[in-house]
């Protein structure tokens, strides 16, 4: 597992892994699209708009997962002096930001026919919007510092301070009385979703994760190269 914290080993593992992951992501994504558009039933109330869920839920999960990964790597980088964490922080932040943006936009496309409005000031929606702003600030911080050593540590500290928002996003539907529905799929109980809708959801989640992983591997490799040649 050393390739998770060592840039050289990561490079070797990435060269080995990227083609299978790319092929897997293409297969999974086309399979997921097929399932979510043709092989899954319409909802008896929502009609065809339920298909937005197959984009909305995976991107929301992955936005949270990306931030959690960044938090773990920031702790590793600051506490155990593993510089690979800074590389991850720089490379992965835009991917998480894009996932959050996809989540917000698809959610508001669903909200217009179902709730009657593009946006409500609901706890879940607001905290996800704040997550998006935090991602934007991380990206801008990466762009606006001259000195690389200062920049990467300051970004790591900001990621740690901003991780307060993660439990707020996760538990906002339980703590407050929100319009957004609480979690349907949880680890502790049987999921409240029919298998015919759960299968496309799971496939789309893995497809999104694989696509994100391909982009992340490419970005991390670019970052390693630019650090080796002292460009960034």
């Amino acid at each position: 597992m050393m390739f998770l914290i060592n840039p050289n080993k990561f490079n070797k593992a990435a060269d080995f892994l990227i083609k299978p992951i790319l092929v897997l992501s293409i297969i999974l994504f086309s399979l997921g699209l097929l399932f979510s558009f043709y092989l899954s039933p319409e909802d008896y109330q929502q009609g065809s708009t339920v298909r937005i869920m197959y984009v909305h839920v995976p991107s929301a999960w992955l936005a949270l997962l990306t931030y959690a990964i960044m938090t773990l790597y920031s702790i590793a980088a600051l506490a155990f002096r593993i510089p690979f964490g800074f590389i991850i922080n720089t490379a992965v932040a835009p991917i998480g930001g894009i996932f959050t943006l996809i989540c917000i936009i698809s959610g508001s496309f669903w909200g217009k026919p179902m709730w009657g409005t593009w946006w409500v000031w609901d706890a879940r929606l607001t905290s996800v919007a704040i997550l998006f702003i935090i991602y934007l600030v991380i990206i801008f911080m990466n762009l606006s510092f001259e000195n690389r050593v200062v920049r990467e540590k300051v970004v790591a500290i900001f990621v740690l301070v901003g991780s307060i928002n993660l439990p707020i996003v996760k538990f906002s539907v339980d703590w407050w009385n929100t319009l957004h529905q609480p979690a349907t799929i949880s680890k502790l109980s049987k999921p409240n979703i029919d298998p015919s809708m759960m299968i496309p959801l799971i496939i789309m989640t893995f497809a999104f994760a694989m696509i994100g992983l391909v982009i992340a591997i490419l970005r991390i490799k670019t970052e390693i190269i630019s650090r080796k040649s002292n460009l960034g």
């Binding site: 704040i130 600030v137 801008f140 606006s144 001259e146 000195n147 300051v154 301070v161």
Partner: protein, 223 residues
């Protein structure tokens, strides 16, 4: 005793500096009042509406005008080398952050606190609410000072994009705004909300020396 003397002389220096730069603090307060006027011009002079949203306006403006003075928080001391000299005198960076936070609270936020009664008259807020407003303001402005310390120490080496510091303060001040405006509008559960606000203050106060101290050390090492 020697340590106490050092702290007293630190605050004496801050007092002298702020006294000579009194026009900066006064400009901040003028900004605060002008913004109230602008708000009232844009909303309209209806007394009912103004008293309904007055507390929210006051909090927003306090936040905006305290972010205006963030640039001076560490920047001057950092550039003329005073931060390093204070550190060489036996203060750790975290302790410097705590001292500077209290200094910011004393010399920048207290003038706002003093000008709140006048703003309340302008915004038609009834006198009964003034005491709640005062308590929530004094806790909330200490939280804002801590957040300002974190964000301005993060941005010491950032020469290009200083507005980022204000954005950072605004992101983390959202819970403060939510709970402190709630205090005014829901007087029956005043105690629970003030406890939550106090809890936020303790969390931020614990994070502040760690984060600001680390950022100060980084900036001084790499300058």
């Amino acid at each position: 005793m020697k340590f106490l003397n050092k702290i007293v002389s630190f605050y004496y220096r801050e007092y002298k500096l702020n006294l000579s730069g009194l026009q900066d603090i006064l400009t901040n307060i003028i900004f605060f009042f002008i913004s109230i006027f602008i708000f009232i011009f844009s909303i309209g002079p209806d007394r009912e509406t103004i008293s309904l949203i007055g507390v929210g306006i006051l909090w927003t403006l306090l936040l905006l005008s305290s972010t205006l003075s963030l640039r001076k928080f560490y920047q001057d001391d950092f550039e003329n080398g005073n931060l390093l000299i204070t550190h060489l005198n036996g203060f750790s960076f975290g302790f410097i952050a705590i001292l500077k936070t209290f200094s910011h609270f004393l010399f920048v936020q207290i003038p706002f606190l003093l000008s709140i009664p006048i703003a309340c008259i302008l915004l038609n807020i009834v006198n009964d609410k003034l005491i709640y407003l005062f308590i929530s303001f004094s806790i909330g402005s200490l939280i804002l000072s801590c957040l300002g310390s974190i964000s301005s120490s993060m941005n010491l080496m950032n020469q290009r994009n200083f507005l980022l510091g204000s954005v950072i303060v605004m992101i983390f001040s959202i819970p403060v705004i939510i709970f402190s405006v709630g205090i005014i509008n829901m007087e029956e559960n005043f105690n629970s909300l003030i406890n939550i606000l106090f809890g936020i203050l303790l969390i931020v106060f614990a994070i502040n020396p760690w984060a600001s101290g680390l950022c100060l050390k980084l900036s001084l090492e790499n300058n």
